[in-house]
Point group: C2
Chain length 245, copies 2
């Protein structure tokens, strides 16, 4: 069974209340950086891996994509995605990323938001994505940053007053399963090093065109309590890559 926490009723109920679940892309702290990495979608065939509620699918379709396929393992997520989607250019399919088996040259752009830290085999995913992309096809994704996933608890080390003292890094080169707590629930994630993320791309036929560790926009830094702590450690890694012809 592939990791499918999002079909767990309690987790799904919590996730559904998450700001980015309610308000979509504009409530995602990394969106202003992720958006800049996205290519022109005009006349593009787009695949979204781990599409969740379909926010990125709708964005691509609204910006000129001719077709958008969103895949996700969670039936509950896809049900909400379908309810939120009226555009016939978008379709959804229940499919684990590990089981993708698309024909060659059937997509021009692949996007994926915060999904790859759920797979134990990033290399197999990259190989399949390289296969199904057209020559010079673009691949833009976000993952939780290796600094964020390494130790496992995904939380600060707090001082005696309960203030975040520093972000702990440990077990960095011990790749694999982590039992993280997210929205009060235990979730299995997979840590891998930066070397693995980036070199896997280079070794499966991509060139890297942009790398960003996003920081919150100025208005959030100024207005949201605790947001300044987001400048103390990287939480996400955004990568834009291109298939080598």
């Amino acid at each position: 069974m592939k990791e499918n926490k999002y079909d767990d009723a309690a987790f799904f109920a919590a996730y559904r209340q998450f700001p980015r679940s309610v308000d979509g892309l504009k409530a995602a702290g990394e969106w202003h950086d992720f958006q800049k990495l996205l290519p022109d979608f005009t006349n593009k065939r787009v695949l979204d891996v781990g599409c969740g509620f379909g926010w990125h699918c709708r964005y691509a379709a609204d910006h000129g994509a001719t077709s958008v396929l969103g895949i996700d393992l969670s039936e509950k997520m896809l049900q909400v995605a379908a309810e939120k989607t009226a555009n016939p250019k978008i379709s959804y399919q229940r499919l684990a990323m590990e089981e993708m088996n698309f024909p060659a040259n059937c997509f021009d752009v692949v996007i994926s938001s915060l999904a790859f830290h759920y797979t134990p085999d990033f290399q197999a995913v990259c190989q399949q994505l390289n296969h199904c992309l057209a020559p010079s096809g673009q691949f833009v994704f976000s993952v939780e940053h290796p600094v964020f996933t390494a130790e496992g608890h995904q939380d600060w080390f707090y001082d005696a007053d309960g203030k975040p003292e520093y972000w702990p890094v440990d077990h960095y080169f011990q790749e694999g399963q982590r039992d993280a707590v997210f929205l009060g629930q235990h979730v299995t994630k997979y840590h891998r090093t930066l070397t693995t993320y980036l070199n896997t791309l280079l070794q499966t036929g991509f060139t890297i065109t942009n790398i960003v560790e996003p920081t919150p926009p100025q208005e959030l830094l100024a207005s949201v309590p605790g947001m300044q702590d987001e400048l103390r450690r990287p939480m996400m890694l955004l990568v834009a890559a291109q298939k080598i012809n």
Copy 2:
């Protein structure tokens, strides 16, 4: 005045006793990974930025380079480098990396080992190196990893028994000067994010061909006390890049 701690008598005396200063490349924990990133030096014109005692210069010359120029800011380091060097293909020049001003197309390969965390302006250095490299010229370097430089003290957080409990990360997105303790001396280093290291390369005319966070070789992990801790956090970042024609 550019950072020139290596001409401080006390620091130099300590550095000179450092294993890699005495025994050269084979005593450097990252050498087995760095070596794999190096190109074929046959008939190449090589520049080594921050050459120190000249170990990498001599390696390049021993492996077929037609000429090797090592630059360093430290007179004391260059004096030892000259004493250790008999090969007339190698020359040394006292020059801060910030003051490089080489003609276009005068080197085929640029290497740099653990020097760039001493410069406040990595972008200017990359621009100059791209300028002086021949088309498709190769650029291979190591730096202290952003996880290692972020917090500033470059030390573990210890538990009550004096054992390393976690590696602390803090101030990650606050780039700039750090007052680190190295060999018992205060040394000024510059922290920058992974985004800055890699995107600066992409933005100054390079493509990235390999990225490695080195780990100690198996024999050291098995035999040297405390070496297992090197698997708990990344200390260095090795990058191979190529000038885009």
